[in-house]
Subunit: 109 residues, 2 copies
């Protein structure tokens, strides 16, 4: 049981969102953010945040199983969002909607 803590720091929210619909490797996440016009995140912020997201159970990772000719350079580690991670993103949106639509209890007679 125990309701989880779904809170995300700003960078964690952006990184997790980048994984919402696509499995991606580290530098690909930065590319997705950069090319979508988001503010720059360096890899010095990326990797520690991916680690924290993994510790919270919001993402999991696996080493790329590509044939060596599929891409140049070093091994890629792929990250994918978990069910809990998806829940964290949804919870954030529900909270914002709920805050926006809240109205006070009319003070009773």
């Amino acid at each position: 049981m125990s309701t989880q803590d779904f809170r995300l720091t700003p960078n964690q929210e952006i990184i997790l969102t980048a994984l919402q619909f696509h499995r991606r490797y580290g530098l690909e996440i930065l590319q997705a953010i950069e090319e979508s016009g988001g503010k720059h995140i360096g890899f010095n912020s990326l990797y520690p945040n991916l680690k924290k997201l993994e510790q919270k159970g919001f993402v999991k990772s696996e080493w790329g199983e590509e044939a060596p000719e599929e891409h140049t350079g070093a091994r890629r580690k792929y990250y994918r969002i978990t069910g809990t991670g998806t829940e964290a993103l949804e919870t954030k949106q529900l909270l914002l909607t709920s805050i926006a639509n809240w109205t006070p209890e009319p003070k009773g007679a």
Copy 2:
């Protein structure tokens, strides 16, 4: 001209969202957040952030014009979101959608 800076800190996003559909006064904003299950924001965080949001042109404020019998206690200052503020919230959502759906350019022949 000059494309504006629509970036919001986490608390600014929550506060601005509380004003998205309703004009509210300071402590009412905190109530909307609290009763929707958001994490606690104190008035020591609220007022400076409202000031910053007003300086950025995302909200404007006016003193309550209520008849004195409509509520007990001191004057209320009402805040409402501006067109620019609404744009800031929309820009944030569009950015997240864009990051989530981004796919890499297929590397050409």
